[in-house]
């Protein structure tokens, strides 16, 4: 099934408006700095945006008292897991319609029992590549990603970081091959619910009746108690119809790491 260009393009260009504010008790100058505003791509990751926000807020604190490794983000009391894509965190945590999305930047008291420390771009690139490789492991037993040149891996990462859709998809379409000997074995999916670690289980593109597995069926594999009447299933800010074949999701609605990230929210 070839990609629907309109869909993949819209997925790539989806953005959320964010207002970063410095935690009030962490300012050391009399006038608290104004918030830092940014339009963040849903498919991107906070550490990429944070570099600029951090520099901006550094002017408002005593630099000698702050360690870059201690920076963390919080919304509504939740420390944000920076290794999740921005769009996943937005869909998962934001329960109201208020925009921009106000996120608090903390420079101290890193909650090390709750979140991983972000050690910068290299760490993020490594995590991204690990996810991408795992996705291909599920789809093609890793045969496509492992036979790519290192420069192809770099092109995927740089395409994401520099917002170059065409550059990214030139390589990504190879990972999306789904015919003949390259048919997907499993569909890479991660399911999110608030207050729980994300779930990842093996989902086949075809069910036992030899029909295309639907999103509803996948949700039931993740959670046998899944009740469609009391749940909203969201990805990229859109409530996804439950009869959507997961194969279509993998080919059109995946994030750049090639995983389909789905949030299950109560309606």
């Amino acid at each position: 099934m070839p990609q629907d260009y309109d869909v993949t393009r819209q997925v790539w260009e989806g953005k959320v408006p964010v207002e970063f504010v410095l935690a009030a008790h962490e300012c050391t100058i009399i006038d608290a700095p104004k918030p830092y505003y940014a339009m963040l791509p849903r498919i991107s990751y906070f550490p990429l945006a944070l570099e600029r926000a951090y520099k901006y807020f550094m002017s408002a604190v005593d630099e000698s008292e702050v360690n870059k490794d201690d920076v963390w983000l919080e919304y509504d009391g939740y420390p944000l897991k920076w290794h999740y894509p921005v769009g996943v965190l937005f869909d998962l945590h934001k329960t109201d319609d208020v925009l921009p999305w106000q996120i608090t930047v903390h420079l101290k008291k890193f909650p090390e029992d709750d979140i991983i420390r972000c050690a910068g771009r290299d760490a993020l690139e490594s995590m991204f590549m690990q996810s991408l490789k795992e996705a291909d492991q599920l789809k093609h037993r890793g045969e496509i990603v492992n036979t790519m040149q290192k420069r192809d891996h770099k092109q995927l990462w740089n395409g994401l970081v520099n917002d170059r859709f065409d550059q990214f998809w030139l390589v990504n379409k190879k990972l999306m091959e789904n015919s003949g000997s390259n048919t997907f074995h499993f569909v890479p999916m991660r399911l999110y619910k608030t207050d729980k670690p994300y779930r990842q289980v093996l989902v086949k593109p075809m069910n036992e009746a030899a029909e295309r597995t639907t999103l509803a069926e996948a949700c039931r594999i993740f959670d046998p108690g899944f009740d469609s009447s009391s749940s909203r299933v969201v990805s990229h800010g859109v409530e996804v119809p439950l009869d959507t074949p997961v194969i279509w999701l993998a080919e059109n609605l995946a994030y750049p790491d090639n995983f389909v990230h789905i949030s299950i929210l109560s309606s």
Binding site: K81, I116, A119, S126, E134, Q137, Q200
Partner: protein
């Protein structure tokens, strides 16, 4: 070489049961909605006089069909060891390889069952490394053979007596 979740479960149960006969070496099974894993905790003093609490978890990764080692190390004041110090602690025979490309080898990840930050050795090289071991080594307890290869990298070793005891269980 990969294994199924069922084989993983059977083998960690053997490890847990057998280890109960070896004080200080016990592994216990933890059941969660996302599946079961096995854990071991130890406290040790380093040459520099630091007292470190170490906890190791063996979880199953269904994508790669291999066990994955997660671990955390805390200092006496309950703080997690920073990753740079973890890389330094890595056993000297593996240090060079790990330091050459640290992010692909040992990194902090979200624990698949607990959701909290844990260090782990990335699984994508495991299947390849395990396939180099002969069948005669892995046939009795794949998880144990795997542990004897990867455990020492992060300071975890199984006493020979316990290993022999676990391998004997497979015969029954």
């Amino acid at each position: 070489m990969e294994i199924t979740q069922e084989q993983f479960m059977n083998e960690i149960e053997t490890i847990a049961t057998t280890s109960s006969n070896f004080p200080g070496q016990e592994w216990t099974i933890v059941k969660t909605p996302a599946g079961s894993f096995v854990k071991h905790r130890s406290v040790e003093a380093t040459a520099d006089g630091l007292v470190l609490t170490k906890e190791y978890h063996i979880c199953f990764n269904p994508s790669y069909g291999v066990p994955v080692l997660y671990f955390n190390i805390w200092t006496q004041d309950g703080k997690l060891l920073p990753i740079e110090q973890v890389w330094q602690l890595v056993c000297s025979s593996h240090k060079e390889a790990v330091l050459l490309d640290p992010w692909t080898a040992i990194s902090q990840q979200e624990h698949p069952h607990l959701g909290a930050p844990w260090f782990h050795i990335h699984p994508c090289h495991t299947a390849k490394a395990m396939s180099k071991l002969s069948q005669s080594t892995t046939q009795f307890n794949y998880v144990l053979s795997w542990l004897s290869m990867f455990g020492p990298v992060v300071g975890l070793s199984i006493p020979n007596q316990m290993m022999t005891s676990i391998y004997k269980q497979a015969d029954k």
